[in-house]
Symmetry: C2
Subunit: 132 residues, 2 copies
Amino acid sequence: MIIKLNTAGSTPIYVQLRNQIVMGIGRGDLKIGQGLPTVRQMAEDIGINMMTVTKAYTILKNEGFIEIDRRHGAKIKPTALLTDNFSEKIESELALLITESSLKGIEKEHFFKMCAEMFDRLNISQVAGGNI
Amino acid sequence: MIIKLNTAGSTPIYVQLRNQIVMGIGRGDLKIGQGLPTVRQMAEDIGINMMTVTKAYTILKNEGFIEIDRRHGAKIKPTALLTDNFSEKIESELALLITESSLKGIEKEHFFKMCAEMFDRLNISQVAGGNI
DNA sequence: TATTTGTATTACTCTACATAATACAAGTAA
DNA sequence: TTACTTGTATTATGTAGAGTAATACAAATA
């Protein structure tokens, strides 16, 4: 999968990497059960420090999106458990986004249309022959 | 309006203040045409530095949510202009939020229900006798 | 046994955040 | 005019996070 980082922006690299992996799973570029590159390999591939990759992987592990096993490496997990924390995070971010959109004149119908398209574009899939 | 800040968290104070003001407009606590407290007053009210308030106000001004006039102070603007930048920001954040939600097992229908409730809760209103 | 893995530690530089103390021009109100 | 308030700007300081770099180590693999 191709990782695009914006080192000029203010968003931390480990956050960008974490988000790109999440989006990669959503698009189907990364499949459930598929292994991620090792922290050293990923660091070399995208030209950043190993510890920065570790930080992103650790967050993804804590969020339940991947599991890390020394024997099998990092793997994409099936549907992650929805915790109260994560639920609150999603709701508060969504509320802010909807308020901003509305203040900017985006109609409810248009917003829903955008959401529908994004949902339809999702392609969460499993790796061929994967035993989940 | 009541401003709640979480100084323990990692979100910068000026970002929290900016978000709270946006949400305040959306809820109707702050009405279009209404004046915001001066930077010095706001700083004193919520117990932070004047420059931190200035930072939040400047962002809101650049985003088109308020206008600052030395003669009239800071005022909430009517519907802000939707720029390409802001449109892209909303779309990318929404895409990430939808992907995360879906990976966490939140169904499309449930997501739409949340959105609908949030839209219905909005109460963007004008100040009484305000000449916009 | 040699290698790879995730993880941990320490040290260092750089930047952002927040506060503090002033200062000043523009506008307001006495 | 004078005194005050306003938004804005500057400089300095302390703290914390981000990112890199160089190692180190136990667990697992080949």
